[in-house]
């Protein structure tokens, strides 16, 4: 489903050039659960953002679902993103002015899903994430774990083929963290491809495969049994 080769990303500021990704290559197959690990600053988030079509690479090739997307413009990337990709962040990133329900509904609005269908899907996913009873609350009225569940609900409500998670458990205690990992696993079991960045060996064990990075390069891939 994903095939990247020799992917490069260089950040230039006035005086320093940081090579965040240095000729990174690997594949992810449909339905896989991949964890990316590595020390802070090694380029994990940078890679995830490129995979999520939030950022474009400076070199190399990126084939997503059979299309070369490395040089897609902003509009085309936004189109692919809303169709196929869901995001979960370390810092939940819910919109403060929208309720739980409205936050989850947002991707469907941008997909122009009809009202009835929208209601059905949002309620279904809220039910599944066990957050239905909080649907009219605003994000500040929720605990961190609840917020992350809303974030996951929002990531999956458009039934994406790929979920990208950047340290989804980073701001959570272990109980809430495990709950989130459980959800991701369930989604993966249902066929969704999951790529997750994490610092936790414990969380990484939920995945099928761990990609280890160092200084912008992939140094090791271990396959879990």
């Amino acid at each position: 489903m994903i095939k990247i080769s020799n992917l490069e990303k260089i950040y230039r500021t006035e005086d320093v050039e940081t090579v965040a990704l240095n000729k990174v290559s690997f594949d992810v197959k449909e339905g896989e659960f991949v964890a990316i690990m590595g020390p802070s600053g090694c380029g994990k988030s940078t890679l995830l953002n490129i995979l999520g079509l939030l950022d474009d690479p400076d070199g190399g090739s990126f084939v997503f679902a059979g299309q070369e997307v490395a040089h897609y413009n902003e509009r085309k990337r936004a189109g692919l993103r809303k169709q196929h990709i869901g995001f979960v962040f370390q810092s939940f990133n819910l919109i403060d002015e929208l309720t739980v329900y409205e936050n989850v509904e947002l991707p469907l609005l941008y997909l122009k899903v009809g009202a009835d269908e929208r209601k059905k899907r949002v309620e279904e996913v809220l039910e599944k994430m066990q957050i239905m009873h909080r649907k009219n609350h605003f994000p500040q009225q929720l605990s961190g774990g609840q917020q992350q569940r809303v974030a996951v609900a929002r990531a999956v409500v458009n039934r994406p083929r790929l979920i990208l998670a950047d340290e989804p458990t980073g701001n959570l205690d272990s109980i809430n963290g495990n709950e989130v990992m459980q959800m991701l696993t369930e989604l993966n079991d249902a066929g969704t491809t999951v790529i997750m960045v994490t610092h936790s060996e414990h969380d990484a064990r939920y995945s099928h495969r761990i990609v280890r990075m160092l200084d912008g390069q992939v140094v090791l891939e271990n396959v879990m049994i």
Binding site: S45, N49, G52, L54, D55, E74, R75, A78, G79, R81, K82, Q83, F87, F89, S91, N93, L94, I95, D96, E97, L98, E102, E105, L106, P107, L109, Y110, L111, K112, R154, N158
Partner: protein, 786 residues
Amino acid sequence: MLKNYFKTAWRNLLNNKLFSFINIMGLALGMTCSLLIMLWVKDELAMDKFHANDSRLYRVMENQFFSGAISTFPSTPGIFAENVVKDIPEIQMASQFLWEEEPLFTVNDTFDKEKGRYVQKDFLKMFSFKLTKGDVATALARPDAVVLSKKLADKYFKGQDPMGKMIRIDNRENVIVTGVLDEIPKSSSLKFDFLMSFDLWAKQNTWAKDWGNNGPRCYVMLAPNTSLEKVNAKLKGYIKSKNKGSNVEVFLQNYGESYLYSNWEDGKPNGGRIEYVRIFSVVAIVILLIACINFMNLATARSLKRSREIGVRKVVGASKRQLIGQFIGESLLVSFMAMGAALLIVLFILPSFNALTDKQLALNFGDASFWSTIILLTLLTGIISGSYPALFMSSLKPIVVLKGALKINPSAAFFRKALVVFQFSLSIILILGMIVVYRQIDFIHNKNLGFAREDLLFIPLEGELAKNFPTFKQELLKQPGIKNVTSASSSPLEVGSSTQGVTWPGKDTTKLILFSSNPISYDYINTMGIQLVNGRDFSNGYGTDTLNYLVNEAAARKIGYKDPVGKELTMWGDKGTIIGVMKDFHHNSLHVPIEPLILRLVKKDWGYGSFVIIRSEAGKTKQALASMEKMVKQFNPGFPFRYNFTDQEISKTYKTEFTVNKLSRYFAFLAIFISCLGLFGLVTFTAEQRTKEIGVRKVLGASVPGILAMLSKDFLRLVLIAIVIASPLAWWAMHKWLQDFAYRIDIGWSVFVIADFAAIAIAMLTVSFQAVKAARANPVKSLRTE
């Protein structure tokens, strides 16, 4: 989706009440100002345009060539109209039109002076003034016809049909009511309570029948599809063809345009009220722009707070265009709310605005074009103020904003600063303008006119008074409160008539020189309080003073005598002597320079002039008025007692300037207020942004004044830059405005000092209000919030 946008926008407004208030209030005030000005401008532009024959109606203008200069007046010989329709076939109709007269109307026991116009028979056919009774085609046909306003019809013929009834005019003539006027539209600059036949007036004023004398206005209507150029070409030499020695040329100006374009220089149109229309239109746009800038500034500043929302929306698939739409939509929402508020404010202050501008403006809620204008204005405001924030916010990178590490984009910060500078420049220009206008008006108001305008009254010299003036004067002087009494042909406000009929030995006869002339009676100099620089006043003691002259310094210079007193001067064929030189005084408005003036005594058969001028004892105005009323009633029982205070009347001649003075004050205040609202918002925001920094600095030992200085410095610098930009622009604009006055103030440096100091002080006050709060905040608290 719209619902989602709306919810987000609405909750954002509610969650940030201060910013929302500043935004909406700023825009509402700007819109209020624009709406008022738009109403005024629309009204001005519509003036005199309602006549069905608008495009064919013209005013006859006359260029008079004197001393190498061209003066342009709307005056013609009184026999112009009747001749020109016969001589020039393209002119289908023509009517003389007299200045406002105030004859005495008497019907049985009811009598009063009424204001109206003397016109000719086709007047009502040319102009669309409607009649409720009578026929426009024939109402003015007979020379003794009078057409009354409804008001006068009710006043003199309450409960009766006025048609065919008789009215006695000036206790001299009888006229017959032949029509009743419908209400004169508000958009007519011509207002009158009656129309009477010009012939009636001309009977008493035979001078008007001479081709060499100019006075009455004349309006003409061209035949359909006539070329103006062709008619103007025929008119150019028309008066000369009737009067060999004439040095005047006539031409036509469209009647509908004459209201706005009334000033002429060198024979060419040179503005008029249109200048105020232009100035105020610019002011409206400027103030609205200032308000829009508040919105832009606050919205971009606040984009930091909304960056997460923007990031999330982008991540879940919002395109840039959708985000631009969303944010423009939000600013439209604010704009519509502001317009609602603005309409309320306008409704509330329209009565005062009408009083100030002497108009009857109204919000025309039933009118589709009104609503479309309102909606257009709202959309425009929303789009202008929303465009930059929308572009700015929609181009934020999601990965950057979601990382939460959005730094203040230097280019956005620069843009925001530029906006503040722009805003303050405009405000400072308005403040400077306001001060200059104020000073000029003050200057006019208090300028030494060369005569004592206080305690100086004048009343019309009419009826029996005109015959018995010397006795009246004697009797009046015996009454309490009266100091001096004289009479003159012109009021103290304006010496209207001028003549070329002045000669002296050694005069260059190739040059035409125009002298203002004012025949007067004894004691004029004393009563008016004019200074003599040389010679003596007219006096009873000298038998032959009727052939002597007083000249002002300007006239003395024109004549060229080194020592004029005792030298020969001939006026209208009367050879006499100059007996004195008056120090120049303003015998006309300050819009024009002091012209050469010759005073002479009225001759026996001229009567005593048109005005009695009276000086009351200082502080005894009440007694003086009572004395005057008593004596006027005694001498002139058939006339109502009317009087004028010279100083008040002078003020009235500057009505436009006074209005501009007041308006400019309000607008300048509004502009600076709106700018400060924006500044206040920005400072609040900056302080909010830097709470943590301030906290850290305080923990490390920074003092409150130090932090205050840190927060204020940036804003102060912006205001200083604005001053540098605004000062030359304001100087240039005000210099141009002052050119309209022959006597004007210098724009000294002190104006700039005051305006700049005011701008800095106001800005600093605004900034420090929030900055002090931020600087004094407990650092422990502010650090804990992180």
